[in-house]
């Protein structure tokens, strides 16, 4: 098996699907000859030609509209938004158009679109690039939202996203692109959308998280283990829809949980997870379910992001608070 970074795994998934289905088209700003600003589409235009992998004019709403139109004419668009901080420019195409295509056409049309985009903080981008806007997407009925945390997951989930017949927002945490390598099988394999993955087993507390925070949570779990606390770390992988089965089974086992997200606290994924646990497993709980998040401010300028983002220490502290409740 090859050792790959997450970005290589993403390129590999795109290559597999471009090869597999000639209706798959990859497009966006700078994705062609330049291979994308993060090089996620490196070499793909050369391999599959300009008809399949192409640059667009600089206009996100145009890119979204193009995807909608190609979708109803039998293509399987994989569009890139160069940074997810620019999603507001294409929000109508995603939330009002793609998400409602199936319903508005009474099932005649659909939007089999994959929206790939780098997101998340900690890499010192200029302002308005890094952000955690996945909550906005998860609050949009009609789109699925997928966030991988390892190279292996990235490839399998992206292939599933492309094959899905509904719009899927697939968010790639910038900090994870090249920070480590992992084993990635060659050729095709899929990981089902809507399924979480237990990244570490434990009996004392469930840490439910996704994206870059999976790694902070694993680190926190190691710290906790030193004090004899065995944390179970659940990587949601798909944040909409949530895999309640996995979450509830874990909470019923550990009776304690915290939810960790890089995004701000208000109206987020973590809040949703807490609400679902309350609905389904409140009698299994020994303590309230607490959240580790960023504060309710806009995403900070680069020189403040390190102090703003949650750290593994915050996770350790919150986990202990729940344990000691």
């Amino acid at each position: 098996m090859a050792q790959m970074t997450m970005i290589q795994a993403i390129t590999d998934a795109l290559r597999v699907e471009l090869k597999n289905n000639e209706d798959v088209l990859v497009f966006g700003e700078d994705v062609g000859q330049n291979g994308g600003v993060f090089r996620a589409t490196e070499g793909l235009q050369k391999e599959f030609g300009e008809e399949r992998v192409f640059d667009t004019p600089l206009a996100e709403s145009g890119i979204g509209g193009l995807a909608v139109g190609l979708g109803v004419t039998g293509f399987r668009p994989v569009m890139e938004i160069q940074f997810f901080g620019f999603v507001f420019e294409v929000f109508d195409a995603i939330a009002a158009q793609m998400a409602r295509m199936r319903y508005r056409s009474g099932g005649v049309y659909s939007s089999p679109v994959t929206i790939r985009s780098p997101f998340g903080g900690g890499v010192k981008t200029p302002e308005l690039h890094a952000d955690s806007l996945e909550g906005l997407m998860a609050q949009t009925p009609g789109v699925k939202v997928v966030i991988p945390s390892t190279p292996y997951d990235a490839k399998g989930l992206l292939i599933s996203a492309i094959r899905d017949n509904d719009p899927v927002v697939y968010l790639e945490h910038m900090k994870l692109y090249r920070s480590f390598r992992g084993e990635v099988p060659e050729g095709e394999y899929t990981i089902p959308l809507g399924k979480a993955d237990i990244k570490r087993e434990g009996k004392d507390i469930s840490i439910i998280t996704y994206g870059a925070m999976v790694h902070s949570s694993l680190k926190a779990a190691e710290e906790l283990a030193k004090e004899g606390i065995e944390a179970e770390v659940i990587d949601l992988m798909t944040i909409s829809p949530l895999d309640m089965e996995t979450i509830i089974a874990s909470v019923e086992k550990t009776n304690r949980a915290i939810v960790v997200q890089e995004a701000q606290k208000q109206a987020g994924i973590a809040a949703n997870v807490v609400a679902e646990i309350n609905d389904r497993a409140i009698l299994s709980l020994e303590a309230p379910v607490l959240r580790v998040t960023s504060p309710d401010t806009v995403y900070p300028f680069a020189s403040a992001e390190d102090v703003w983002l949650p750290s593994y220490k915050d996770i350790v502290e919150k986990a202990k608070q729940v344990i000691e409740f």
């Binding site: 700003e29 700078d30 062609g32 000859q33 330049n34 291979g35 600003v37 640059d55 004019p57 600089l58 206009a59 709403s61 145009g62 901080g85 620019f86 507001f88 420019e89 010192k124 981008t125 200029p126 302002e127 308005l128 690039h129 606290k265 208000q266 504060p295 309710d296 401010t297 806009v298 900070p300 300028f301 680069a302 020189s303 403040a304 992001e305 102090v307 703003w308």
Partner: protein, 362 residues
């Protein structure tokens, strides 16, 4: 695509306006802006200053001492020429690359550096400096320009609003919307597109089927002109004309300047050799705005090596000073950020303020 005769006729009207050719010779005497010798020299000083600043900024970035930086070498005439036509009361709505214009409009150099570093002081415009924060979301500044121009007109300010974007930015819907609004309300706005031929890696030919960007003004019903963006006199003359037109109530103007960025798109890993040939680089460096204008001034006995060296030294000195001041800026805290969310903070932020105060005092 074979374009119709009618379309070709429209497109052919947008010829490139020029005053100084590549050899520094005046080819359009009639259009020469009226400038004193001192003003002519000032233009040169600013271009030399900006070129040195660009070089220093690039090396500071490489040493990890600057943060975000979008190089400007090659675009000095477009930047300095358009700003020079403005008055202090005019407003600038810049893009991320348009830092020279705002500094010459009154933003202190150290503030520009703080903006680069992602420090909130970078956006705190001094009293009386009518400049918006450099825009990152390409196109947002363009629609806002219609609003600023409307505001200036309604308050009888005798001022214009000028905004900048690139050839890529001209593909955004916001670009058309901004021009269309400004035209519909007949407000004093100037839209500058610095066409440096590439939007990161995408060549301008792939942005649009339009032969020029200037012609996009026609659809908005406003005046449009294409200028040699390496010729500071041509850029200045057209901006002065646009300003006058706007203030006389004769509508906004779109100015397309033909230019080139010699360096990478930004200092964050862009590699121009992936998308540009060195032949094209050479072709454009022959049009260099500084070389051309230096020749012109030397022909008038207005410029010498000593004067040039003086500017170079001054620029280096100023940058050193500015970096020192920027280094002295206070570290960014989450509590600063919480404090700036609203005029009065809601309860969730009041609570979080307490948490972060405790954390920060540890």
């Amino acid at each position: 695509m074979e374009k119709t005769k009618e379309l070709q006729k429209i497109e052919s009207q947008f010829e490139t306006f020029q005053i100084l050719n590549e050899d520094g010779e005046v080819v359009n005497k009639k259009a020469m802006p009226k400038l004193s010798d001192e003003q002519l020299k000032e233009l040169m000083k600013r271009m030399v200053y900006t070129r040195i600043w660009d070089q220093r900024a690039i090396s500071l970035n490489r040493q990890g001492r600057l943060g975000f930086y979008a190089p400007v070498a090659g675009q000095e005439a477009s930047m300095i020429g358009t700003q020079f036509a403005l008055e202090k009361q005019d407003w600038i709505l810049p893009g991320y690359r348009d830092i020279p214009q705002i500094v010459f409009h009154g933003v202190p150099l150290e503030q520009a550096f703080l903006w680069s570093r992602g420090h909130l002081a970078g956006g705190q415009m001094p009293e009386g400096v009518n400049v918006m924060m450099p825009q990152i979301i390409i196109g947002a500044q363009i629609t806002q320009t219609a609003g600023v121009a409307m505001g200036l007109k309604r308050k009888n300010k005798d001022a214009v609003a000028i905004t900048y974007t690139g050839d890529g930015g001209a593909s955004q819907g916001d670009f058309y919307e901004g021009m269309n609004f400004a035209g519909a309300y007949n407000v004093p706005a100037i839209f500058v597109v610095q066409n440096n031929r590439f939007a990161i890696s995408v060549p301008v030919e792939k942005q649009s089927a339009a032969k020029t960007i200037a012609q996009k003004a026609v659809a908005a019903g406003i005046h449009g002109v294409q200028v040699d963006g390496m010729d500071i006199l041509a850029v200045l003359a057209m901006t002065e004309e646009a300003r006058k037109r706007a203030l006389e109530g004769n509508g906004p103007t779109l100015i397309e300047t033909l230019t080139y960025r010699y360096g990478p798109h930004t200092m964050a890993g862009d590699d121009p050799t992936r998308y540009r040939t060195s032949d094209l680089d050479d072709e454009w460096e022959k049009k260099d705005p500084l070389v051309r204008f230096r020749k012109f001034l030397e022909g008038k006995n207005l410029w010498s090596e000593e004067e040039e060296n003086e500017v170079v030294e001054q620029a280096k000195e100023d940058i050193k000073e500015a970096i020192k001041k920027a280094d002295a800026a206070p570290k960014q805290k989450v509590t600063d950020l919480i404090d700036l969310m609203f005029e009065d903070q809601p309860h969730n932020l009041v609570e979080q303020m307490e948490d972060y105060k405790a954390k920060e005092s540890k």
